[in-house]
Subunit: 261 residues, 2 copies
């Protein structure tokens, strides 16, 4: 349904688009869609979204970019984003929904320190529930139709598969999300669903992990990876993701890691 070079006329929705992986993803996808395509970009910071929009619409791109400054941790934010995905030209060939928004959680503590249920609930609301509600809302807005390829990409992590000390929120949230999208893939065989683990990226989140992780062994590992230049750039990882999506040969629902490709 996609050509080797691009996604054709597309509606692209990216959460957590204002910086890091999400921002680089927006720039990369924008270069692979046809004029008439629409990018809907969500993040908390309106300022950063507008800056990205101006980078995306420089020159005669033929792209429409909608910035949606929202907090996806609450229902109103998810609903606002879903509303912004409506009224798109009906002849799009690709719907691409990238679930990239995520928070690291507090890695300065251990499981035995998580006595506050509200804190955990907030984490799961942003990192798990919102992804399912957004998916549901977008799929209902764009039901199955001939000529439309619907693609849902969950930005996952090695943490969805492997436990890391002090990362209980992140690991549990990513495990739940992977499973959620595996269930979705089972339910909707005509959807294309991918859980993509982008590898260890040189982003703000990685810096946060390096500085605040309570587990000294893990902290040292991150610091060494950083010092030895072993962290990936977002663009390195996105290049592989784009190839996977354009080649379109992955098994729907599967977990693919940068290092597997």
């Amino acid at each position: 349904m996609s050509t080797a070079s691009g996604f054709g006329k597309a509606l692209v929705i990216i959460t957590g688009a204002s910086r890091g992986f999400g921002r680089a993803l927006a720039l990369s996808v924008a270069a692979r869609v046809s004029p008439g395509s629409v990018l809907v970009l969500a993040a908390r910071s309106e300022e950063q979204l507008l800056e990205l929009k101006s980078a995306l619409t420089r020159g005669e791109t033929g792209l429409t970019v909608r910035c949606v400054p929202v907090d996806l941790g609450c229902e109103a934010g998810v609903e606002k984003l879903i509303a912004e995905t409506r009224d798109i030209q009906p002849d799009i060939q690709h719907l691409l929904l990238f679930h990239n928004a995520a928070s690291l959680g507090d890695v300065s503590r251990y499981c035995r320190d998580f006595t506050n249920m509200e804190e955990l609930n907030s984490y799961l609301s942003l990192n798990v529930s919102s992804a399912l509600c957004l998916t549901a809302g977008v799929l209902r807005t764009y039901p199955k139709r001939s000529g439309l390829t619907r693609v849902i990409v969950n930005i996952s992590s090695l943490c969805a598969l492997r436990p890391f000390p002090t990362w209980v929120q992140y690991c549990s949230g990513k495990a739940a999300r992977d499973m959620m999208f595996r269930v979705l893939a089972e339910e909707e065989p005509e959807l294309r669903v991918l859980n993509y683990a982008p590898g260890p990226l040189d982003t703000d989140m990685q810096r946060e992990a390096r500085s605040s992780c309570a587990d000294s062994e893990l902290r040292n590992t991150f610091s060494q990876m950083h010092a030895n230049g072993q962290l990936l750039t977002c663009d390195q990882s996105i290049q592989k993701l784009m190839s996977v999506l354009l080649e379109d040969k992955y098994s729907s629902g599967e977990h693919l890691d940068y290092y597997d490709l």
Copy 2:
């Protein structure tokens, strides 16, 4: 740390103890602890807990049974349960915490129908957050000490590993819980942590799944299993769980399924 025949003098905490697997578990564990042991049983129904207590304390058992009627979906419920685990005689040899409370979620719908974030958040609060908060509270009340074996058992499911259509809440919740306890096992090497999948049990939850599952193939599978007597009794599954715990040879954090044993 345990003898082949029992857990010695123990503090046993079981959530979802009023019926089904939890109730059978309480009866089974009670038969394997020494006089002076304390069972703390949590569930929503006080009436069913009191009935269970009377079954547990029939005769000269030497057991103390504390019934804690609470809703573990909210912080107050978890805190009340943690409070009830305090002031236990200090010479216990075993601390056994069984996370059995769980809800099936709504299996009459598909992922695309989950547009209500509050519904998902409530589900995750009961099935994920509460299990971590309860664990944290109990571990802080009973820190590492010589002569005390601390065991955390998560009643898991095949659904933690495999996606089933219409079971997005249950599968995602169980995947998150498994991962949570794997992280705990990494963090606390002296703890004994087990994710136990009890197999398909002939319980109220299974009946609910059989009657309301929107996926006809899955519904038929359950109905056939029921009709052909392929569902397990709780006691069959608990017998294997007891053997695993008493033999104490499992790798902490691992996922063990009834059918693997």
